[in-house]
């Protein structure tokens, strides 16, 4: 048995930027609900709000991890501390996960200004694990200027990231589909910055042109409106990453000058509160109301009660039993 350091004590060290304390608190957040950990996070939340949070998404194989690695180098060269939360899918069968980003981010270690953490999705939809948002807070409170969230590349269903990041970068790769694909994909509209990776490839120009064409069809135009840039990058030739950082910085500046940042922050707060509320409801179903749930389910299967009515009745019952310790 080992000595368990209280979470509040770890929280103090997080504020000093202690990497091991940040790492341990992320683990505790990930391992489930514990009032002692919650309390520490609530305390640390007061110290957040300084980091610029960048979401990076795109289809699998688009080159997100490689891009993140290069981007981190750019941020370090500009003197900023960068935290990375990299999310990979859990196996739907075992719940386990192989978190592979470390392979591609190998050359970023042994720099105290960089912190990389891999996380599994644990079955959450939309590519964003809820503890990932807590991890972002911990890095924010730990003094990281930039926090990059790299989401699992599920492709057309990743709007979650927009609701958690200040700037969303969508990574597109050449040759992954025609322009119909781009219209279909919700990812076209969620981008604040588009990247076309592997720009050394001859077919990348077509992808860049297609994207620009699609963006021109956007309805909102005019003065003071953010124009989504398309940034070509090539990790093969080491080009475009400085431009990408500059584009993200410009977007951050735009949010401030246009006042849109208030709206984004509101959106992020909403996402987070709703996500936690959902989780509390789920947990309560699982833990407290099992016998009651069973009785209701029986009524539903026997057509004595409809699903909506059963849900409402469960929620009403939950009001009395809800745990404050969440």
């Amino acid at each position: 048995m080992i000595n368990r350091i209280p979470s509040m004590q770890l929280a103090e060290r997080v504020r000093e930027g202690h990497l091991r304390a940040i790492a341990r608190l992320i683990t505790r957040v990930e391992s489930g609900d514990n009032p002692e950990v919650r309390e520490a996070l609530a305390e640390l939340y007061k110290s957040t709000g300084n980091a610029h949070v960048v979401g990076i998404t795109g289809v699998p194989g688009a080159g997100k991890s490689t891009l993140v690695t290069q981007l981190v180098h750019e941020y370090r060269a500009s003197g900023r501390k960068v935290g990375v939360v990299a999310i990979d899918p859990s196996s739907p069968y075992s719940g386990g996960a192989i978190l592979g980003d470390r392979i591609r981010m190998g050359d970023l270690v042994s720099d105290p200004g960089v912190f990389i953490r891999s996380m599994a999705t644990r079955g959450t939809l939309g590519g964003l694990a809820r503890p990932a948002l807590d991890a972002v807070d911990l890095l924010d409170a730990g003094g990281f200027d930039i926090v990059l969230i790299e989401t699992v590349g599920v492709g057309q269903d990743e709007v979650d990231i927009v609701r958690a990041a200040h700037t969303t970068v969508v990574v597109n790769a050449p040759g992954l589909g025609d322009d119909i694909q781009a219209i279909k994909a919700g990812v076209l509209e969620i981008a604040d910055v588009h990247v076309v990776s592997k720009a050394d490839r001859p077919d990348s120009n077509r992808t860049i042109q297609e994207l620009k064409g699609m963006l021109m069809m956007s309805l909102e135009q005019g003065e003071g409106i953010w124009r989504v840039p398309v940034v070509p990058t090539s990790s093969e030739k080491h080009t475009g990453f400085g431009e990408l950082m500059a584009a993200i910085d410009r977007h951050a500046e735009h949010l401030k000058t246009s006042g849109e940042i208030t709206e984004r922050r509101h959106q992020i707060a909403l996402t987070r509160v709703v996500k936690v509320a959902e989780q509390i409801v789920r947990d309560n179903f699982a833990r407290d109301s099992r016998s009651q749930t069973e009785a209701l389910l029986k009524q539903v299967t026997q057509r004595e009660l409809d699903p909506h009515g059963a849900a409402v009745s469960l929620l009403k019952a939950m009001k009395e039993t809800i745990h404050e310790t969440h």
Binding site: M1, E30, R102, G106, V109, R122
Partner: protein, 141 residues
């Protein structure tokens, strides 16, 4: 939905290849087996330095650091890793080894503080069981 049970924290494992050792089929099989047993597995890729691996393991805050060595450099690499963990106040990390290691060296590695050596003929289930046991013995952290 799996793993929503609050009491069951997912075991986090880092599997590492250190130094000039290009054999990674075994470690990938182990990674897969551990994942199928419900663990989170971070694989470092080939040719890492002890410093890189220890730093990454601390940031990932893994329960177990598993190092696979088929190069014969184990008597050099394990002491280095253990020392680095100590220097960085991360001695509570469980260190295990796997691969091709002579019996005499195994004994010595245990004395140094390696928690478990699982040689190349260990069945996957045994690796899973011993990892679970090691984490259970360590207790909450």
């Amino acid at each position: 939905m799996q793993n929503n049970d609050k009491s069951a924290a997912v075991i986090r494992v880092m599997l590492a290849k250190i130094g000039l050792d290009g054999h990674d089929r075994g470690i990938k099989v182990v990674a897969r087996a551990l994942r199928d047993a419900g663990m989170d597995v971070v694989y470092t890729g080939l040719h890492r330095t002890p410093e890189e691996v220890v730093d990454a393991a601390i940031q990932e805050d893994v329960d177990i650091l598993g190092i696979s060595l088929l190069s014969g450099a184990h008597m050099h690499i394990f002491p280095k890793v253990l020392q680095l963990l100590k220097d960085k106040e991360a001695e509570d990390m469980i260190v295990t080894g796997g691969g091709v290691i002579p019996d005499d060296d195994v004994k010595e590695l245990y004395q140094m503080g390696v928690h478990k050596i699982l040689l190349q003929d260990t069945p996957p289930q045994e690796i899973i069981d011993s990892f679970r046991q090691l984490v259970a013995e360590r207790g909450d952290r």
